[in-house]
């Protein structure tokens, strides 16, 4: 397999989860609720999904594909319910949304790691700090995958990549082509107009924030499968923040955000391949790991001038204020 193919294959497996998480962020932020909690939401989703997969695997046997797909359903539920906490703090309690996001992240990390250890010891009877997932199956589309370079997009694909693309299309349609999507976007720019039109701003925002949790849950589960095939404290490495950076470059719109995610994903996997290619010792991986983060900063420096955040982003909606 050529190096370029490997870069594309690994790059897509990283890009797509990042992308779906960023779409979640777009939903929340377009509705006017700042969401720095993506990291924690994806972590909670991955934890719930991983736990479900582990239990279901014992039920269905290791060869069954049922736990794999059901784990994503549970991750969606876990992420969405946990996002409700963020929504309640921001909308019901009118707290500072940035602080709430960080609190959610701290809470998610503390709770999941504690629960993993406690459940492993107490329920499964083996002290361990991780939930093992079986390695995800991967498939190659016959025929098309033989095309040079482009074929790589159809080689050794994780099933979740297909799920993510399908969902991305649906939520794109929902946000831009339906009345509900318009209401969500209006809530972020002019909530008073939405209110005047007879819509409930709070309810729309609750929906949007829970949507971000659901989508982050999918991303978290995908990361858990693709990167380490387990859920442990090592899950929290800041990809949630990376996806926030991606949606900021994407100017809070879905398609340009995909572009930003592609840049991150390809830079990361290309960096890895570079170290392998040059034959440097593994310590040099550390230098490569900073690539997406440095890229984020540089892109922010060059692009942030042209960015327009939703106008009511981060503001608590107050009916009496005009």
């Amino acid at each position: 397999m050529s190096t370029i193919n490997t870069i594309i294959i690994d790059g897509m497996a990283f890009t797509l989860p990042l992308f779906i998480m960023a779409i979640g962020g777009i939903y929340s932020e377009r509705s006017g609720v700042t969401n720095l909690a993506l990291e924690g939401l994806s972590g909670m989703g991955a934890f719930v999904g991983a736990l479900a997969a582990y239990i279901l695997t014992q039920q269905f046997g290791a060869t069954s594909q049922v736990p794999y797909y059901l784990s994503f359903v549970f991750a969606v539920i876990g992420g969405a319910l946990f996002a409700l906490v963020h929504a309640l703090i921001c909308i019901r309690c009118k707290a500072n949304q940035v602080i709430s996001g960080v609190v959610i992240n701290i809470l998610a990390e503390a709770v999941t790691i504690f629960l993993v250890k406690t459940i492993n010891r107490g329920v499964f009877g083996k002290p361990s700090d991780k939930i093992d997932l079986g390695a995800s199956i991967r498939f190659t589309v016959p025929g098309i995958s033989k095309i040079p370079v482009l074929g790589a997009f159809f080689t050794r694909v994780y099933p979740f990549e297909v799920i993510i693309i399908l969902i991305a299309v649906v939520v794109w349609y929902l946000l831009y082509k339906t009345p509900l999507g318009m209401h969500i976007r209006a809530c972020g720019d002019n909530p008073h107009a939405v209110d005047a039109a007879g819509m409930d701003v709070a309810r729309i925002r609750y929906f949007a924030v829970m949507m971000s949790g659901a989508l982050s849950g999918i991303a978290g589960m995908a990361f858990a499968y693709s990167i380490s095939a387990k859920f442990s404290s090592g899950f929290f490495v800041g990809y949630g923040y990376l996806s926030i950076a991606a949606l900021i470059f994407g100017n809070w719109t879905i398609l340009p955000t995909l572009g930003a995610c592609l840049v991150f994903g390809m830079a990361k996997s290309a960096g890895y391949q570079l170290v392998m290619y040059l034959g440097y010792p593994s310590a040099y991986q550390d230098l490569v790991m900073i690539l997406p983060y440095v890229l984020t900063l540089l892109l922010l420096i060059f692009l942030s001038k042209h960015n327009h955040a939703p106008r009511a982003l981060g503001e608590v909606y107050d009916k009496s204020k005009r």
Binding site: V102, V103, L107, D286, L287, I290, Y293
Partner: protein, 365 residues
């Protein structure tokens, strides 16, 4: 009146956290009172059943103070930024950067203690301050959200430091950076007094001074007033002729410098080496400490003393009761969560109070 409310909210939040912790401990079939008693024992605030030779309650107490010193600096760092309306979640990265530079520049040198210790503090202030100021500059010049940039710097610093440790300064046995010289360490190790061994944290004295300096600067100087004005209303501050950009950079510089002090008291004080690829949780926990302390230096001193009991004592509690020590971070997180929703129970208390007032009014009529 306002101070009373703040104190009440903090106390309620802490109680909710402890209560939630107690419920979890009960569910796990353990006794929460015993567990909390163990926490206090682990910090030398209550006597343990038995001690290893040369160790006593005061040994544990000093170790607890040594342990909380970096947190005090870190929480002050968060507070200074927050006063100016900025959210410094890069404390962990600033700590690591400052700790690493101080380790390399001073920790591995042969300087005598009298020179090395002040130099460690200075390097910490300089490196942390520079990192903070850079974030402030990016915010002011390019309008980059400081939350995103500080987190990017956290990871960048973590990986870069890890790279240098693994290629140059690694200890072959511990897989951490080589231990620094005793002369440069801010905590005096194993000092024998009256037959007991003590670790004396010199950094704590500096931290207490920092509490009062920050308090003074914030409440009594033009600089503090300007920072607070920018934090409260950016636009109004600009119209009042305050240099908003300068204030943003300055507050991040001070915040970073305090984070740098947290770093050197952590990596060259409580510990004497750096573990590669690891960001300490102090940076995030400091946000909890700062919020519970209402971003006020004296409030922070109290909340640090209290919350660090949970963190420090959790190891001993874990060994005594078999609970996972991670429960400490769960309790801290719940306390943090309750402070953010304090408006909810403030509403509830107000409602009860007004209902009671109504009833009283009815009786007199």
């Amino acid at each position: 009146m306002k101070n009373n409310k703040v104190l009440r909210n903090a106390v309620i939040s802490i109680l909710i956290g402890l209560l939630a912790g107690a419920v979890i401990i009960l569910i796990l079939g353990k006794n929460p009172l015993n567990a909390y008693y163990n926490l206090l024992q682990g910090c030398g605030l209550l006597p343990k059943a038995k001690y290893a030779s040369g160790r006593g309650m005061a040994t544990d107490l000093l170790s607890y103070i040594d342990f909380l010193t970096p947190m005090l600096f870190a929480a002050l760092a968060v507070a200074v930024a927050m006063k100016a309306g900025l959210f410094n979640i890069g404390v962990a990265g600033q700590m690591l950067g400052a700790g690493f530079m101080a380790t390399v520049l001073v920790g591995y040198s042969a300087l005598p203690a009298g020179l090395a210790k002040p130099l460690v503090l200075l390097v910490g202030i300089a490196v942390g301050g520079a990192m903070g100021a850079l974030v402030g500059f990016l915010k002011y010049r390019f309008n980059i959200n400081e939350v995103v940039s500080t987190i990017m710097f956290n990871y960048i610093v973590s990986y870069v430091v890890s790279f240098f440790i693994n290629t140059r300064y690694v200890d072959a046995v511990s897989r951490q950076s080589k231990v620094i010289s005793a002369a440069s360490r801010l905590t005096l190790q194993d000092v024998m007094i009256g037959g007991y061994k003590f670790n004396i944290p010199l950094g704590f004295i500096v931290a207490i001074i920092a509490v009062f300096v920050v308090k003074f600067v914030m409440d009594r100087t033009v600089l503090g007033f300007e920072l607070k004005a920018v934090g409260l209303n950016n636009t109004a501050a600009r119209y009042a002729g305050i240099g908003v950009g300068r204030s943003i950079v300055l507050s991040m510089l001070i915040s970073g410098a305090l984070a740098g002090l947290a770093g050197v008291t952590y990596y060259l004080g409580y510990f004497a080496s750096i573990q590669p690829r690891t960001l300490v949780s102090t940076g995030y926990d400091a946000i909890a400490v700062c919020l519970v302390g209402n971003s006020d230096p004296l409030g922070i001193l109290l909340s640090t003393l209290f919350l660090q009991i949970i963190s420090k004592g959790s190891t001993y509690m874990s060994s005594q009761s078999g609970l996972e020590s991670e429960i400490a971070s769960v309790i801290t997180a719940v306390i943090l969560l309750s402070t953010t929703i304090s408006i909810l129970y403030a509403e509830i208390i107000d409602r009860i109070r007004s209902r009671r007032a109504d009833r009283k009014g009815g009786e007199t009529a």
